[in-house]
């Protein structure tokens, strides 16, 4: 069993690594890049919400932090996007602590709604902040030639692909480490019963802060990647409530609080969006979202542990 799983993992990883060598068309590569991006975002959210039980509906603010840091760095020639990725992650960690200090005193629904409020405040501020382009958005100037230093590749998407794959592996690795560590047990204790955890000596406030920091840093790194990939960002694309929600939907569909759930969710949701857009006619119809919504309702009612939970149930029955 353990060997079979290891072999499966190695095979999947090999397939993922070799994919760009066999598929050179830009479109499938783009779809996979977005699958990996959203899997990583959902994984970051999952660390906080799935393992630690703090449901944040404002995660776009960290994504926006990462995206805008690299946008400003490159557009104003401050430093390379790689430095921006680090600085963005750091800023996101700082932001998460500033937000977390008051908001973590709230529980359950109050926490979720408070994160919406924080997200909307940041969104409105960004729309009105001229330094970062306000509502007009920010163009990231194209730099030639393609190079790893500039984090821009116009000849081929392959390098973007490998970078985002790296981010995904980082996300999975971090989650795996957390799952196995004392911190992971703290997280789950806080999720299950905060008061009981506190009475057993779990430092509840610190545990939540750590979870928020890890989650924010990873989300910000994804934001930087997104900015360098699309080369244009504005508040409507990197800070809206709908982005925060999409991140949650991916994780919830796949399976909250599981290692593979976010990846499974992204593998299902992103192509689903593509297929409905292509076959049912896209422009403004939002049919993909109709299906998302229905799926989320069904999953919440039938199996809150998501697709991964359903798979587990089948395996147990078999």
């Amino acid at each position: 069993m353990a060997h079979g799983r290891l072999a499966l993992g190695v095979a999947l990883l090999a397939a993922a690594l070799l994919f760009p060598a066999f598929v050179t068309l830009p479109y499938p590569r783009d779809v996979l890049i977005r699958i990996f991006l959203f899997a990583t975002l959902a994984q970051a959210w999952n660390v906080l919400a799935g393992y630690c039980g703090q449901i944040s509906l404002g995660h776009a603010i960290f994504f926006g932090t990462g995206a805008y840091t690299s946008g400003v760095f490159v557009a104003r020639d401050v430093a390379s996007p790689w430095a921006a990725m680090l600085v963005g992650a750091l800023l996101a960690v700082v932001l998460s602590q500033v937000v977390g200090a008051p908001v973590f005193r709230l529980r359950g629904h109050y926490f979720a709604i408070a994160t919406i409020a924080v997200g909307e405040i940041v969104h409105i501020l960004a729309v009105n902040w001229d330094f970062i382009g306000a509502a007009r958005g920010l163009y990231i100037p194209i730099k030639r030639p393609d190079s790893l230093v500039n984090f821009q590749f116009h000849q081929s998407k392959a390098v973007y692909y490998y970078i985002v794959l790296g981010l995904l592996l980082l996300g999975l690795g971090v989650t795996r480490l957390i799952e196995r560590s004392r911190l992971g047990y703290y997280f789950r204790a806080v999720r299950e019963e905060q008061d009981a955890a506190a009475s057993l000596g779990v430092p509840v406030a610190r545990t939540k802060r750590v979870a928020f920091a890890i989650s924010a840093a990873l989300t910000a790194a994804c934001g930087t990647f997104y900015a360098q990939y699309l080369l244009f960002i504005d508040p409507e694309s990197v800070l809206p409530l709908s982005l925060s929600i999409l991140i949650c939907l991916v994780a919830v569909l796949g399976g909250v609080g599981t290692l593979w759930g976010p990846l499974v969710g992204a593998v299902v949701l992103i192509p689903l969006g593509e297929v409905t857009r292509i076959y049912l006619g896209g422009t403004g119809k939002a049919l993909d979202l109709v299906i998302y919504g229905a799926l989320i309702m069904i999953v919440s009612v039938v199996q809150p542990a998501g697709l991964v939970g359903i798979a587990r149930r089948f395996r147990r029955a078999a």
């Binding site: 709230l106 409020a117 919830v252 993909d288 979202l289 998302y292 989320i296 999953v299 009612v301």
Partner: protein
Amino acid sequence: MGLVYALIAAGLSLIFGLMEIVNFAHGEMLMLAMFASFWTWALWGLDPLLSLPLTAGLLAALGWATYRGLVRFILDAPMLAQIFATFGLAVFLRSGAQALWGADFHLVKDPLVEGRLVAAGVFVGLPQLVASGGALLAFGLLYLFITRTETGLALQATAQDRQAASLMGIDTQRMFALGWAIGGACVGVAGGLLTTFFYVFPEVGAPFALLAYVAVALGGFGNVPATLAGGVVVGLVEVLGGLLFDPSLKLIGVFGLYLVVVLWRPQGLFGRF
């Protein structure tokens, strides 16, 4: 506007008080109410004010159906499932409306009441005035219903203690469904009133719902009369914020207020617990 917020928030507060579930699809129910009154106007030329009973009835049915078809199954589920079940419903309804009717903005032209009043140099739009009056009236009726009728008292009993209420012979399942129906009706009335002066489009619900959450939190979750005060405060802060600072920043005041209140008094300004 504050009174309309309060009416939207009342339904939310009632549902939360009954079963400690936040209806994240509340804004989308408002959107459907507005579309319902828009379509009765567009197809049959019925003014939104005249179709109010119809809209309220439709939304009450929708609220009831939401309970029977969805919420009933997640009463004892983990909080995550509760949040995302209604969240999924919200996404479903919003994008469904967009798929059916497009993302365009609609407006009811030549409503029954239009124009404005000038009193001491202050302009007050007549539709807004009617909406406030209507919201206040609906609120009063709701208050009388839950405090003066037997069914209303049963509703309150269920909110206080589910088990004790069912031991007293109250059918809690029916009370829950009734709570959702009333919540739907409130939103239906609010939607009908809003349609007289506000654009109708699939995304319209979200901002109102956010303000309603703030109003509910201000008043204290589950406390229906206090929600009225919460709604008025939200309306005032929104307008004053727009006046004192920049209109584009006015919502920051509202959300900032929410954060201050939930941190300082998590039970709301008038909360019981």
